[in-house]
């Protein structure tokens, strides 16, 4: 099954980096969609089938937290897993992301391996190397 992934970040550079990294993760990726902030992301979500959202937190107009809140108000969008990929690292902020409904959190900088582990967890894909995830994901499991 191919996953459609929406990448939300106000930095075009980070969107490119995330696109390449997602493609390197070994998932069967269908469409890779992009949005520059939460407002654009909601538009894309209304017009496309999306299986996973990777969103930055700090963005103009609508930030990542507001995007999650808006998605949770919609019966269909509420089911889409959202992973917050951000520079924010305070325990309070991470707790808030999860309380608001984020499925996962990854702090920048990240390696392709860290993103792969996070996506495996969120998308429920079996990992090829059993046991390795738990070992290498230490400290990242938010």
């Amino acid at each position: 099954m191919a996953f459609n992934v929406l990448i939300v970040d106000d930095s075009s550079v980070m969107r490119s980096v995330l696109k390449k990294t997602v493609q390197m993760c070994g998932f069967n990726i269908g469409e890779l969609l992009e949005a520059g902030d939460g407002v654009e992301a909601l538009e894309v979500l209304k017009q496309n089938w999306v299986d996973l959202v990777l969103t930055d937190y700090n963005m103009p107009r609508m930030d990542g937290l507001q995007l999650i809140e808006e998605m949770k108000k919609d019966e269909v969008l509420a089911r889409i897993p959202v992973v917050v990929v951000t520079t924010e690292g305070s325990e309070k902020k991470v707790k808030t992301f999860l309380e608001k409904g984020a499925s996962g959190y990854l702090q920048k900088p990240f390696t392709p391996e860290q993103l792969r582990i996070k996506l495996n967890r969120v998308m429920g894909e079996p990992d090829e190397e059993d046991g390795r995830i738990e070992e290498s994901d230490e400290g990242l499991d938010f």
Binding site: D10, S11, S12, V13, M14, S16, V17, K20, N58, P60, T86, T87, E88, G89, S90, E91, K92, K93, Q107, K108, P109, F110, T111
Partner: protein, 171 residues
Amino acid sequence: MKKMEELKKAMKDSISEILETMFFMPLEFPEEGDIGEIRKSAQTTLLSAQLKYQGPISGSFFVVAPTPLARELTANLLGLENKDLNSEHVEATLKELLNMVTGKTFSLYDSKSTFDLGMPQMISSNEIMTSLTDDLSEEIELVAKTVDGIIGFKVTVVWDHGTGKYQSSYC
């Protein structure tokens, strides 16, 4: 001051991790060095960015890099050839680098507290050199040497000596 030393260590650790992890660029910090040296030694134009922050401590983070080094960082991050880059790519990369350094520094320095980060903005390199330093503020300057050149970082922190508490300079 112990807290400034802790902040400096957090900056060094975050800069090293980010440049090595995301930009594939090992570096070292010379014992002495200030970002004025980059301006003196640069044979070309400099690119600079600023990010304001507010929290238990407040102020700004800055980055300054010679244009060729900024282009090399961009090429490494995006996996593109240097000739295929435009100025938008390079400026966006420098701003993202500063964003990551700021966020990572604070998570290493004090993960219990919440810091609100502004949007990174390109500024002239003169603004870094002349950024306000008065009796209530302190600053840290770090110069990192890479194989492709020297890059500088600076953070300003406002400290209220009267109350013993950090004071906000965010606007």
